[in-house]
Structure formats: C-alpha cells, structure tokens
C-alpha cells in the first residue's frame, strides 16, 4: 500500500561510469511496474537503488511519499525476490521464510501463523521442513516469493525472478505472480529483459536503454505507438521491421499512396500488420513493397517469412502454414495507419 516515486535518479560509479542517467518514474499504489531493457541498460541498478542496496548519486527515491535515499534496506519495508532466489542454503524452508520476521522481533506465534498461511497460499505447506537444495527450481522460486510475501511489505521488488526457469514453468509462474500481486495489492517493481514477460505483467511498462527511460506507459500503448526505433525493435516478437529511407525517398520497389512525412528517416511496420498481395488486395491503399522470401519459419499457429527487400530485411507474419517457399517473390501490403515513422534521431514522427 504505497506509491514509489523516482525523481531524476542518477547512479555514477566510483570509476566515473554513469549507469543510470536521470530517471523519473511515478508508480501508483498497487501497480506493477516493469522495467525492461537490454543488458546493461541500468534497470537492475535502478531496482537496487529502490531497494537501498545501492547508494543514490543524485535525485530522490520516495516510498509512500517519504524520501528514503539514506534509509537502509531493512527500514524501507521492501521485500526482494532475487534472480538466483538467494535462499539461505542451511535453513529449512520454514526458517528461510521466518528469518526476516525474526529479525524484526515479531512474536513467535505470529511468525508461525504468517509462515503457514503464506505456505498454504503458495502450495508450499508440505515442503516447510525441506532444505533449498532438496527443492526443484520452481519450488525454490516459490519459497523466494514466500519469503517476500510473508513480511507483508510496502513494496515488492523482483530482479529477473523467472530467468532461471524453463519456458513452460516461466509461463506458469508469470501468471501466478500477476495473480498474487493483484490479490495482495502490493506495489511492485519488476525487472526483466524478456519483453513478453514485460508486456504481460506490466500495469506500467518502462522501457530503458543506456541508463535512460526510452518510453513509459501502458504496455499496449507502447506497443502501438513506440516512441523510438529502439522501443519499436525491443517490444514485440519478432520486432518491428525498420526500413531506412534514403533522404526521404522510399527504397526501390516500394509504392506508397500517402506522402512521406518530411522529417522521416526510418519507416517501420509490425510483421503482423502485413497482408500479402493477391488478386483481392491488389489495389492497396497503403504501402506496397516487393520482397523475396529467404527463409520460412513455421511455428504452428503462424509462420514467419524472412524476406529481402530494397530497403533491407523484413519479417512477415502469416497465420497458419506458410504457402511461400524460399525464393518466392512476394508483394507485401501495409495499411497507411499501420505505418510508423521515425526521424533521424530515431524519435517517432507523428
């Protein structure tokens, strides 16, 4: 039950490396904020600054309206789930979960009640007497969650908690984390480099790159209106097709009914916004692009056609089985309203 506000937060390491270059984010109460970005973009550093594990070079971090820059991690009343779970290897599951409460001087019967309640919620009740090494990856993950939940903190912090699980378990845990976070109503900050995790979990999605926020907002807004070529290529799988324009002119083999915006330097469109030209769609009212199929990737429900065009390589997504073969020539149609334009600096042109 708390808001988390970052104001122009910076982190400069002793060597002069600036990991976070002034980030401001307001996370509303009960929201799940996901920080997403490539490795080294500063997202983990930012999370650790919120946790109090890393000092803040400048700017302020406030939890529940109070500036906590100089407050230690214990007093910030946060709980953190680590990438490698960081369970205490010599303690039983019960003690792992109870440790934080004991250090806070919670009465014994209260600890017992809370640990058992939490274990029940997470279906860990039968594992309380085991040690971490006797648990599977998924179970360890649950214990790490339990250790966070049992304390009933103001803020949950997740540092890539699912990256050590296999794909199937990751999907399950993702849904579980989302449900748990919603039912507990605890403000959360979640760091990941997986854009799918980011899209599905986030109430507020923050895309970071090079220590700066590229774009923040609702996941689908970001998906539909990426603010930069970086966001466009980072969010969505496969990423948005980007075609460089040579001085405002479309590459060879491309026709467009609408005018190109004057400052545009890059043209983008999502692989799923594409239609293949056939007799019916021949007269398109959007962009018309010639492409040659280089590789076909069937994944069952859909197929991806990797194709070469005059403006570079693009991916086209078609439902079901692909009819095209490598070497086939395609005509790719994109409606005008599905085209994204970016300027020289990579910023979106509206």
């Amino acid at each position: 039950m708390a808001t988390v506000d970052l104001k122009d937060v910076r982190k400069v390491y002793a060597g002069g490396v600036e990991a976070v270059k002034g980030v401001s984010i307001d996370i509303p109460d009960k929201a799940l904020c996901v920080l997403v970005g490539p490795s080294g973009c500063g997202k983990s550093t930012l999370l650790r600054m919120i946790a109090g594990l890393e000092t803040i070079s400048s700017g302020t971090v406030s939890i529940d309206g109070k500036v906590v820059n100089t407050v230690g991690p214990t007093e910030r009343d946060i709980a953190m789930v680590f990438q490698n779970y960081a369970l205490y290897p010599h303690m039983k599951v019960y003690d792992n979960m109870a440790y934080g409460l004991r250090n806070r001087g919670t009465p014994k019967d209260e600890i017992d009640r809370r640990v058992r309640d939490t274990a029940k919620t997470l279906e860990l009740a039968h594992l309380l007497d085991r040690r971490p090494r006797e648990l599977s990856g998924g179970q360890r993950q649950r214990v790490a969650m339990g250790r966070a939940i049992v304390r009933n903190p103001k803020v949950f912090l997740f540092d890539e908690p699912l990256s050590n699980l296999d794909a199937k378990l990751r999907g399950q845990m993702r849904v579980e984390i989302k449900n748990l976070q919603r039912s507990l109503g605890v403000t959360s900050v979640y760091v990941t480099h997986d854009q799918l995790e980011a899209m599905t979990l986030a109430d507020v999605l923050v895309v970071m790159n090079g220590g700066l926020v590229e774009q923040a907002g609702a996941p689908l807004d970001i998906y539909e209106k990426p603010a930069s070529t970086f966001v466009a290529s980072f969010i969505g799988a496969p990423p948005m097709n980007l075609i460089a324009l040579s001085g405002n002119a479309l590459p060879e083999g491309t026709k467009l009914v609408a005018p190109v915006p004057p400052s545009a330097a890059t043209l983008g469109f999502r692989p799923e916004d594409v239609e293949l030209a056939d007799a019916v769609h021949d007269a398109a009212d959007g962009m018309d692009l010639e492409a040659q199929v280089e590789a076909v990737e069937p994944v069952g429900a859909e197929s991806f056609l990797y194709s070469a065009t005059g403006g570079g390589r693009i991916v086209v997504r078609v439902p079901g089985r692909a009819i095209a073969q490598p070497g086939d020539r395609l005509r790719v149609l994109v409606p005008v309203d599905k085209l994204h334009w970016f300027d020289q600096a990579g910023k979106r042109v509206s």
Binding site: R48, A51, L53, G72, P73, T74, I78, A79, M80, F82, Q83, N84, Y85, A86, L87, Y88, P89, H90, Y99, G100, N103, R104, R133, R147
Partner: protein
C-alpha cells in the same frame, strides 16, 4: 570414407557388450578380479609398512626396561602394560623431573586446542572483515596478512622470543600459544570460501534485516561449518606436534608439551634412558591426534570436498 562409420559401429557395439558383461560379474567400473586382488595386496603391504613401527612401539611399551635393553625385542606384547602405563601417567618420569605424562598430555591438549580455536576465531573474523566490509586500506591489510605467509615462526623466532620473554610469558600457556595463533593460511582459506558466497545471499540478508553480527552468526558461521571442522583437524595436529617454539618457551618441566618431554626423556647414554616409559609416552602422544581425525573424519572430508551450497 563411407566405410569407416560402418566399420566403427560393430566394434563399439562389442566393447559395450563386454563392459556390460563384466558388470554382470559384479566387478565395479569394469575392473577385473585379478587386478582387484593386486590392488588389495598393495594396500595391505602399505598399511603393514606404516603400521609396523607403531605396533613395535606398542610392544616395547608393554615390556620391562631390561627386556627392551636386551635385544632382540619380542614381537608380541609383554605383561607390563598396566605397570608401565600407570607409572608413566601418574607416577612421573625421572628424567623430566618426575612430571607425570598426564600433566604433559594436559599441557599439550591446552596448547593444541588454544592454537586451533584461536587461529580459527582470529582468521574467520579477519576474513569476514576483508571480504564483506569496505574500509580504508582494506587491501593493504589483506596484503600484510598475506605477507606473513612468508614469515613463519622459525624465521621470526628471535624477535618473537624477545617480545614474549620481555612480557614475562615464558613458561605460560599464553606464551606457548599466542605467537602461533595469527595465521595467514587460515585467513586466506576463509577468504576464498567467503568469496564464493553469492552477493545475492548477502543482499537477501540485508533486506531481511540482518545486520553484520546477525549475518555472521546466522548465515556465515553455519555455512562455514565444514570448513571450520576441516581446519580444526589440521590446526589441532599442527599445534599438537609443535616442537621448536615450545622448546624455547618452556624451562619448567611441568610446562613441557609431550613432544618436548619426549625429547628430554631420551639421554645420549642408552642405559640412562627409561625406554619403556619413552615408548608409553610415544603411544600416548599419538592417541589424541588419531582420535581427533577419526571423530572429525566425516566433517573433515566434507570440508575438503564440498561446501554445501
């Protein structure tokens, strides 16, 4: 080129079958029966070679002085077991001023335990400071500790003796143990172990509200258990077998350690030496280290092979 794989496959198949066949015979790892016998013969020979002198010492410790001095010494134990052992343990040995071996055992036990426990406490604390805390000149301290590796007691024995004698610590347990406690080796060992503890674990403890003392007590100590046990065994034996330093530090016979006393018991003149008591003392001197190794074996091996993470 095409024929090669075809030629390899049947050969592979037969060798696999052969290994499986041997496994059915009960031999482990495909070792044949005869080579197992050879291995055992070699092992038994080795044990005999190592154990025979100890057995012979035991035999000598159960005969009278006259029997020992009149060769050859019998190969089977004599009938003086209780007489010799009780004389040595409680009666006192003439050549070392009538001090009983029980006193020597007590002295040596105190010295070995103090050195082992003292070393472990000092080194685990200094390793804790060096690994987990950022303080000015941290690396300087680390290197200073590291350099002492090159200065064992023997090298700095004169100045150390001077300091100890100026402090009036000759013939005291403090004097016997204190200079041997500061240990670079144990500090380095703990440092290496602490460095393998993941940073996330430290951070999880911080988030869980564990301060430096709690982290040390609740997390670091339990995790170091096996390392401490292994180190204890090594250091106990190191303390038990100390020779040069106790030789310098003790003048009074009743402050001797057993190794020193043993040396003092032996005279140049053969007839002057109470050989039966020397043998008894030798036997008694090796029992405690053996016990420590046997009792701590399980922990010791675990400490050397895994770190339980």
């Amino acid at each position: 080129m095409v024929e090669t794989p075809a030629a390899v496959t049947p050969a592979k198949a037969t060798s696999t079958a052969a290994v499986l066949g041997r496994k059915e015979d009960g031999a482990m790892l495909g070792v044949s029966r005869s080579s197992r016998y050879i291995a055992h013969v070699i092992l038994i020979l080795g044990i005999v070679i190592v154990a025979f002198p100890i057995y012979y010492t035991f035999v000598a410790s159960t005969h009278t002085l006259q029997t020992i001095l009149r060769p050859p010494l019998p190969l089977i134990p004599g009938d003086q077991f209780f007489e010799n052992y009780s004389e040595a343990l409680f009666g006192g040995v003439g050549r070392i001023g009538g001090v009983a071996v029980s006193t020597l055992l007590f002295n040596t036990m105190v010295v070995a335990l103090a050195i082992a426990i003292g070393k472990i406490i000092i080194s685990i604390l200094s390793a804790y400071a060096i690994v987990f805390f950022r303080f000015p000149f941290r690396m300087v301290f680390f290197w200073v500790i590291f350099i002492t590796l090159m200065l064992p007691v023997e090298v700095r024995i004169m100045p150390t003796y001077k300091v100890m004698s100026d402090l009036g610590l000759i013939d005291t347990y403090t004097g016997l143990t204190l200079p041997l406690m500061a240990s670079a080796t144990a500090t380095l060992l703990f440092r290496q172990f602490f460095l393998t503890i993941p940073g996330e674990l430290v951070e999880a403890a911080r988030v869980d509200g564990a301060g430096p003392y709690r982290f040390f007590k609740d997390i670091l100590l339990p995790l170091s258990r096996t390392n401490i046990a292994a180190l204890f065994v090594i250091l106990f034996i190191y303390g038990w077998t100390q020779y040069l330093w106790p030789l310098l530090m003790t003048n009074r016979n009743d402050m001797n350690t057993i190794v020193i006393a043993l040396k003092k018991m032996i005279s140049f003149a053969d007839a002057d030496t109470q050989w039966h008591l020397v043998m008894v003392t030798s036997m008694l001197a090796i029992i405690p280290p053996i016990l420590v190794v046997l009792l701590m074996q399980r922990w010791f091996v675990r400490g050397l092979v895994d770190t339980e993470k």
